[in-house]
């Protein structure tokens, strides 16, 4: 079954058409990148998939289920997770609580059970805490569990964001410019991490990225957006030599 399918996806912000006729078929386990100049509508696509905006037109089907009109938190619980272009951690919460909150849907205990420290509360919270620490451990953050997240250096904040996204137990992960602001060594490590979590957590990944090293290095397919339009779609090798892509990035004169 197709993991994610969008058809004629179109979104207007007032008089601006941010996304126009975006069609995507994402197969389970694939790693597809969306590239394009700033303002091309890439992040809008993520916002449409996660229900932050409701598309003006078009369909979004995730594992056979229609996502259009569903509230965001339901879409997330259903198996879609994302990270953000500018890191959006809960800055005043600890590293632990940032990941713990992503387990919200799993905590089935009631407030009064918590007040009385009944077994269901203590058991579920202990399990969530353990799962949280295991995830933090994967990203070398377990020692920092009690640190307030705004005090982390930038690279660790980026890693924490991925850990937090994984805590919602996604099958589809949307990464919005994960390599932004990273140095070459960090980028190298990030590429390994992305491939590793895809294997480890059986993920399908949709990636927005500006750094061509990352896109060309790990994406199996690339879609190129410009002014909301899909101007190219193909393997990295095809995209690199695509005249319209070169035009969009470098301008008509260069062609």
């Amino acid at each position: 079954m197709t993991m994610l399918h969008t058809k004629h996806l179109t979104h207007w912000f007032g008089g601006l058409r941010a996304v126009h006729d975006f069609n995507l078929d994402l197969q389970p386990g694939e790693l597809v990148a969306i590239i394009g100049p700033n303002g091309a509508g890439k992040t809008t696509v993520f916002n449409l998939i996660t229900g932050v905006y409701r598309p003006t037109e078009g369909q979004i089907v995730f594992q056979g289920q229609n996502l259009v009109g569903l509230p965001t938190h339901r879409i997330i619980v259903g198996g879609v997770a994302r990270t953000f272009q500018n890191v959006r951690l809960f800055k005043e919460l600890t590293v632990l609580d940032n990941v713990r909150i992503a387990h919200y849907a799993r905590a089935g205990y009631l407030a009064w059970e918590a007040m009385l420290y009944l077994p269901r509360f203590t058991r579920q919270e202990a399990q969530i805490r353990q799962d949280t620490l295991e995830l933090l451990d994967i990203f070398d953050l377990a020692d920092l569990a009690e640190t307030v997240s705004r005090n982390l250096p930038y690279g660790q904040q980026r890693r924490l964001e991925i850990a937090r996204a994984l805590a919602t137990r996604p099958t589809l992960l949307l990464l919005d410019e994960p390599a932004a602001g990273m140095n070459p060594a960090e980028v190298e490590q990030l590429m390994e991490t992305i491939l590793w979590i895809r294997r480890q957590f059986n993920l399908t990944i949709l990636l927005i990225e500006h750094q061509m090293r990352v896109v060309m290095g790990i994406a199996e397919r690339i879609k190129v957006l410009d002014f909301g339009q899909t101007i190219a779609d193909g393997t990295p090798a095809e995209i690199q030599n695509h005249p319209r892509v070169i035009e969009a990035y470098l301008g008509v004169e260069a062609v």
Partner: protein, 302 residues
């Protein structure tokens, strides 16, 4: 010496009630950055819920253990008030979630006026002051010249317990973590699977049921009337601002500070100066420490 110990005890009693109400202001502000000016009147409604429940219970069965009557009254008032607050949020505030904050604040003032005037017009309530039936036998103990009543003990102990429970909820449970997360970033919280609307409802319900604890306790010690929510609501609001609005422990501290202002002003000044002292405290604090005692500095988000 006995005099001051006595006054401190009285201040703790009054301060407990202010603190319980202040928590509702501060929690709603924390999650929605909105001042729920109807909260004082929601507190007023809770005292009437306690009044009718206790009258009904004692009318039906007079020989019950006072502790059973007290707990039944308390729980009914908490539940009813929570329901009222959730309905108010859904009908009056939620449609204004994306409107400018001032619209929601004006609506809250309107809801408060509605509750006051509804209660005045509502025949079983009416404008006359009332007394709650005696839930707990009022016994005075004299300890070294200081008079302590059973009611005073119940007010202080129950308030302290409720505040401890709330602290547990906010710090340890998922809902509490969600409240803190939403107060920092409303946009990201749903993207982590947090149902923001439901957490907001729970915040209103929690704030209102804590106010109902305050309302029941208050009704045990003082007379109640449909306009009581105005003055007490303002004092609780000042408590929340003094402690640092949005901060839970701040609201507790602020409540006790205002309790001390209320009790100790008449010791040094004419008792009519109480409101003057309370509001002066607020103004001076707003000049020198606008975020309150424990408040976080406002960071302007881009």
């Amino acid at each position: 010496m006995e005099f001051y110990v006595q006054q401190i005890l009285n201040a703790l009693q009054v301060g407990s009630v202010y603190a319980l109400i202040a928590l509702g202001y501060t929690m709603v502000y924390g999650i929605l950055t909105m001042i729920n000016f109807a909260h004082g009147d929601i507190f007023m409604v809770s005292t009437y819920l306690a009044f009718f429940t206790s009258t009904l219970i004692l009318g039906l069965a007079s020989g019950l253990n006072p502790i059973v009557v007290f707990i039944a009254t308390l729980l009914t008032a908490m539940f009813g008030t929570a329901l009222l607050a959730v309905v108010i949020e859904r009908l009056a505030y939620k449609p204004l979630r994306t409107a400018p904050r001032i619209s929601a604040v004006i609506t809250a003032l309107g809801v408060g006026l509605f509750l006051e005037n509804f209660m005045v017009a509502f025949k079983p309530v009416g404008p006359a002051p009332r007394f709650l039936p005696h839930l707990i036998p009022a016994v005075n103990f004299n300890i070294g010249g200081v008079t302590v009543s059973t009611i005073q003990i119940v007010i202080i102990v129950v308030s302290a317990l409720v505040m401890l429970l709330l602290d547990t909820i906010v710090r340890r449970t998922m809902v509490g973590t969600a409240m803190r997360a939403i107060s920092w970033d409303k946009f990201t919280a749903p993207l982590m699977g947090v149902p923001v609307d439901r957490v907001i409802s729970m915040t209103f319900a929690l704030g209102a049921s804590i106010a109902a604890v305050g309302g029941t306790l208050y009704g045990m010690a003082y007379t109640i009337d449909p306009y009581m929510g105005i003055r007490i609501g303002w004092w609780a609001f000042i408590s929340a601002v003094v402690g640092g609005i949005g901060n839970i422990r701040g609201a507790m501290i602020g409540g006790f500070i205002l309790g001390f202002v209320e009790i100790f002003t008449p010791v040094f000044l004419p008792s009519t100066y109480r409101d003057f002292v309370a509001f002066s405290l607020l103004l001076v604090l707003l000049i020198f420490r606008p975020t309150g005692i424990l408040g976080r500095p406002m960071v302007q988000k881009v």
